[in-house]
Amino acid sequence: MTKTTEGPAYNEKLQEKLQTIFQGGHLKYHEKQKEQNKLFVRDRLELLFDDGEYMEDGRFANCEAADLPADGVVTAMGKVNGQTVCVMANDSTVKAGSWGSRTVEKIIRIQEIAEKNRVPMLYLVDSAGARITDQLDMFPNRRGAGRIFHNQVRLSGFIPQICILFGPSAAGGAYIPAFCDIVIMVDKNASMYLGSPRMAEKVIGEKVTLEEMGGARMHCTVSGCGDVLAADEQEAIAEARRYLAYFPANYTMDPPIREKVEAKAGRTLEEIIPENQNAPFDMYEAIDAIIDEGSFFDIKKRFAPEIITGLARIEGQPVGIIANQPKVKGGVLFVDSADKAAKFINLCDAFSIPLVFLADVPGFMIGTKVERDGIIRHGAKLIMAMSSATVPKISVIVRKAYGAGLYAMAGPAFEPDVCIALPTAQIAVMGPEAAVNAVYSNKIEAIEDPKERMAFVQEKHKEYKAEIDIYKMASEMIIDEIIAPSDLRMVLAERFRYYSTKNIPLPPKKHPVYPV
């Protein structure tokens, strides 16, 4: 961090200044941090970086002012898993981590350094927001706080951007996590909100606690603004390090490949997947049978759990997995599940992480509630993200893939590199029961004898099932391949190795018109 300086008096002065800076804010604020199970900003950085080493910039920012060491933010470069990264980290012992003009300038500069060096940018946030007394110097101007968000948008998809939230991220500051690829939140301490509970009470008359309105658990389960809920700061930092290991330094590079690890010992896919299309099972167990043991990094685990999105490795190669979870809400796609999967696909595609879709989906949810929520608009987001992803993508039809569910899960029309069916697969506009009802409802009702009616329905089910038989689909070359479930891991690993040179140019344009 700093070297002992010996010699003339001016070195002594320098040393004194640095001591003051490294100490951060007043002792009482350090004690308050400890009471809240929070670490001092420099301790966080030591945990984050390899060997606890980093190189700092802007140490003397606002050093002439009393009680504003480093102006409340540490900006530095260091290594994580051997990879250089840039970091800004609020010091909440200094005016509650609030932003003055130099705080903002430091953050902007470290973002610029990350861009020039094309390395990931981490935001370690613990800040009360703007220093209102300094607003003219830090809020509206060209290099004011707005520029931080502008830079984040500029850097999005260029380099990975990660947010670890240790404390509040208030008002405008809440947009730092919003523009990051991933937000890790510390349970009980982290929060995000545009207006504090006190402000909510004054302005709109609502009485609510911080935890209810903007707490870590709420954001990781209800709003979807948080991705990972960590029990404490150590876990949050460890998760950030683990996450970064799946990513290249920037979009021009390939994600790092690791040593192959065997899949977790357990039941085979044949044992896990029930043949009865309507019976639930746990897709996590199926994922474990496919990926390298211990390689799963679950993103938004608690939010919209009817779809699973996570990073993993298959024989050492990083992949992004999008899987329906039949155990939760039948694996049906909702507004939030579509949103969750769309962002995850965009993330993987930006950094060249191949995609695996594990489809077992009855379709998008129907009914008044979801239509009013705009499920068509949200579904379109998912389909656009999946459709425009140019990384290798493999569609695996695990069981049912009905209706637009087939489309959302990279069905044949969306140019997956291959569409693989397991023998339990069933592809159709809708399931047999619904289809027979839809086509023959008048006829069925017209049959008076219950036995005769039952026989008619069963006959039509049989005909329908023959129509959508998976071997017929393969014969018609709708699907490309049928494999035994227990071969899936091996097949995915082999195919991703072959597809590693994939490069498909899109028609020239600025960007699509996003259906947001």
Partner: protein
Amino acid sequence: MTEVKAAMAGTVFTVNVSVGDEVEAGQVIVVLESMKMEIPVETESAGKVVSINVNVGDFVNEEDVLATVEA
């Protein structure tokens, strides 16, 4: 008091417990049928079933309270 709520809109397929039953956390209280799928609805906490608010075949909306369990 724990409210066992419908995770999504659908019809009640089976009611698996009766008023007065002792149930464990994670036990399936009701199975809904929705989108042609069976959707098990579990209680978050253990206790005694004090009310069952639905019958087989009823349509329920997301967040409707299906049953209540008292610790």
